[in-house]
Amino acid sequence: MSNYTDHKKYEDYEFEDFLSDEFFVQWVKSPSENTLHFWEKWLISNPQKREMVTEAASFVRSIQYKENFEFTDEAYIQVFENILKADLEVPSHNTIPSKMDTWYSFFSVRRAAAILLIGFSCWALYETQNFSDSEKASIEWITKVNEAGKKTVLHLNDGTVIHLNSNSKISYPKTFTESSRVISMEGEAFFDVKKEGRPFIVEVKDAKVEVLGTSFNVNSAVEGKLEVALVSGKVKVNDKLGNQVMLAPMEMIVLEDNGKIHKQDFDVRSVTGWKDKYLVFSDDDFDTVVQKIETWYGVDIHTAGKFNAQWAYTGQYYDESLENVLEGIAQTSKIQYKIKGKEVEITH
């Protein structure tokens, strides 16, 4: 290990070689399909290096700025507005207005500002540390349960708004402690967290999502995994194995029960539309469509006939009746349906 080299093979790598490898750092800090695929395979075929790799990964993650300088929401808006204002001060050229000039029109500038208002830089921490159970025990907890077909909006006394989806459950203390705001949940919920000094912690499955103020969707209703989708801000994810992943705005992290983690993009309407009464199907197979309708309307669906694997349905419905949704699907997807109270029969 006396001089660095690009040509060394990974199997001959020493501690420092991993640490100075761009591809390795990428995998540790922002795993992509590409890096995950490579390094997972590599670790399986080089088990003797596993410990060294884990240690090197810990080193990479442990490096951080000593001081954090936060660009506040006020600064975010102020600087943004000043940048746009500077556009309007540009002396107009004596040329014929081009297409580009219309981009700078007052209205498009205003629209840009409105879209940005939701993009405050926030900080969310997702971690696995434990909170003292004794603190929890002395607090009076309120529990809300939504059966299938029911959705509720909860306004907590700290200003946080929670949309609780059907088939979901949430528990929160009557009053939060002075040090933190802890709630626990099952199923799916959308959080619009009021920013303040105390962290906001969501306990879900065996994981914890900690935020300081941001809006995000947590979905543990899908068997075998937990999905956290961030609408705005930044998220740092630490799982129980010490893995750490940074999430950019509009990214979703999926934690599988077997410990696997991956990031993916998400469509805001598909993931969070439920809270605004949008029932969204996006290339869903038949089972998913059935399950979504059952949960949404609180009905039991019986099926008859053959549905091949190619069957898929895409569509969005706003605050629509069960009959209209089934009619919409029937029109394009050759199904027949019968509604008898809380029972639905679908044939193909």
Partner: protein, 211 residues
């Protein structure tokens, strides 16, 4: 088989295009995003601002504790870039480009505001300080706290240049190529060497005894 109910005039389908604003850019390469910005696409500008402004502020604050100087520099940079739209050069790594630009802008403004002759970043020993994250655990260590103290000690012996390169490499996830450009090295391998030597000097602090 994606059946689209849009063809049905009676259904309440809403085109999903309207909701996919920023997401559009997430999937694009830096080159494409930059080209869109250069062509005057306001959403591309929104994307750049919201994606990089916090990182620029954190990085810029390493040079100056004067938060209004850093904010003004960021503001000036974006105003400049917007005015130059249509004539901007191609950029393949936006973060690297913005870091280089904000560094230049901030140093220019510090020089204008201070009487210090020949401001050099190497003077700034207090800048680009690193701390070992308390959240990360080293599995192998018998005494984890001791291990972190050791590593912290090792880090504090690095030069400002080395610390800057280490932070750009690990915390900011920039490539050697970008680091070389930000640090004004004519060759990429200079950045590689700088980090490799920093790691070598940290070796005794970071290596568990068994290897």
């Amino acid at each position: 088989m994606n059946r689209n109910p849009k063809e049905q005039p009676n259904s309440t389908f809403i085109p999903s295009k309207h909701f996919e604003t920023v997401k559009v850019f997430e999937e694009k390469s830096d080159c494409d995003i930059w080209n869109a910005f250069n062509k005057g696409d306001e959403m591309a500008f929104n994307y750049l601002y919201r994606t990089y402004v916090q990182e620029l502020y954190q990085f810029g604050s390493q040079y100056s504790r004067d938060s209004s100087l850093v904010k003004d520099s960021i503001q000036n940079l974006f105003i400049y870039l917007r005015k130059k739209r249509g004539d901007l050069k191609e950029v393949t790594n936006i973060k690297g480009y913005l870091f280089r630009s904000i560094q230049r802008e901030i140093i220019k403004n510090i020089k204008a505001n201070t009487s210090i002759e020949g401001f050099e970043e190497s003077f700034l020993d207090s800048h680009f300080q690193i701390v070992v994250s308390p959240e990360v655990s080293f599995i192998k260590s018998e005494s984890e706290t001791e291990r972190k103290i050791q590593l912290q000690r090792g880090l504090s012996q690095l030069t400002t240049k080395q610390r800057k390169a280490i932070l750009l490499f690990y915390e900011e996830e920039l490539s050697y190529k970008e680091i070389a450009e930000i640090m004004n090295f004519s060759e990429v391998k200079t950045a590689r060497k700088l980090i490799y030597r920093a790691l070598a000097s940290l070796k005794e602090f970071i290596k568990p005894t068994s290897y």
